[in-house]
Amino acid sequence: MISTALDLVLVALLVAAALAAVGARGLFAGVVFFVAYGVFVAIAWLRLDAIDVALAEAAIGAGLTGVLLLGAVGHLTRAGAGAPPRRPAIPLALACAGISVMLGWAFLSLPDAPGLQVPVAAALPGSGSTNPVTSVLLNFRAFDTLLESIVLLAVLVGVWALAPDAAWGGRPGLVQRVRPDGVLAGFGRLLPPLGLLVGVYLVWAGTKQPGGAFQGGTVLAAVWLLAAMAGVTRAPRVTSLVLRIALVAGPVLFLAVGMAGALGGSFLGLRPDWAAALVLTIEVGLTLSIASALALLVLGPPERAA
């Protein structure tokens, strides 16, 4: 009873936040509603017992998209872009409504089966992890995860391709100005150690409970961006060798493990007695790559010569 009431309140707030994010006057109010929407989506995932997804949504929604979108609004304002035209976008609204109806129809027509929970649970011993989500991501459907980690790199190459020739080799992002003894500088020194702890903890915890490379990497990216905004650290040059090694560490380690599996009989297959160590190795590599790629995606291409 109470649990249903809670869900109803949550769904009402979710829908209200989504409509307000689209319908709010001005870009800024829309972005703020979108940030609030992210918090409610994370809670909704928890209500569905999808803690791994909730962790990812909390880190992406509260950490990265807010910074990205608010920065974009600031850029638009400084560039003198006026408010977007306020005409009702009827075709767009109809298209969105159509997609929603189709999704609802697809959901209702799903067979009443338990999904893949049972086979995943049966194969869990020997998969290298006792967290079923990690086992699925790094073992049972490793090929998808490998390609996803490469997609992230491809996107970053796409963003960097927008850099003007003269700025190539420079540092992405703006030069930050911070009062040295101010609140922001203090926050930027206090938070990163705690953020590092939480990020590494999430990666480590991911092998047996909710967490993992994506969640931990996103937290690390967000914390690094905060340190950069607080002037504690600077973005590396895009040509930096260390940066590039971090960016490719995940896919390279993943591929290496996959090739080793191929020698043993199946590409990307993990030998059960080695699986735990291999899963952790891949997780650590992916964390490095995801953290650096996401942080650099938020910063954008280098805009000035170094």
Binding site: G26, F28, T77, V183, L184, F187, L190, L191, L194
Partner: protein, 100 residues
């Protein structure tokens, strides 16, 4: 049993803290008053809830996590309030509609 009663009382007091913050956010007349109401009442509420839940925790690790969460939330709220208040001061504080 005693733990359950303590949890119940502290959690309900914490919820009251959140309502106090919301009333302040709705009713106070200008931006800086609203900032003040919000950051104090909510973090008191969060602290009371964390303290109440600590009586239900299964181990020391969970209690430490609850404490860390509260400490991080206070740190974030204090920093955000100070920065946003200072930034709002530049628009001449209260009232005017946002030219972004």
């Amino acid at each position: 049993m005693v733990a359950d009663i303590l949890t119940g009382v502290l959690v309900l007091l914490g919820v009251a803290g959140f309502f106090a913050g919301s009333v302040g956010l709705l009713r106070f007349p200008d931006t800086h008053s609203r900032l003040h109401a919000l950051t104090k009442a909510d973090n008191l509420g969060l602290g009371l809830i964390a303290l109440g839940l600590a009586f239900q925790a299964e181990g020391v690790a969970d209690i430490l996590k609850l404490a860390l969460i509260w400490a991080l939330a206070i740190l974030a709220a204090g920093t955000a309030a100070q920065l946003v208040a200072r930034s709002a001061l530049e628009d001449g504080a209260s009232g005017e509609e946002d030219a972004p």
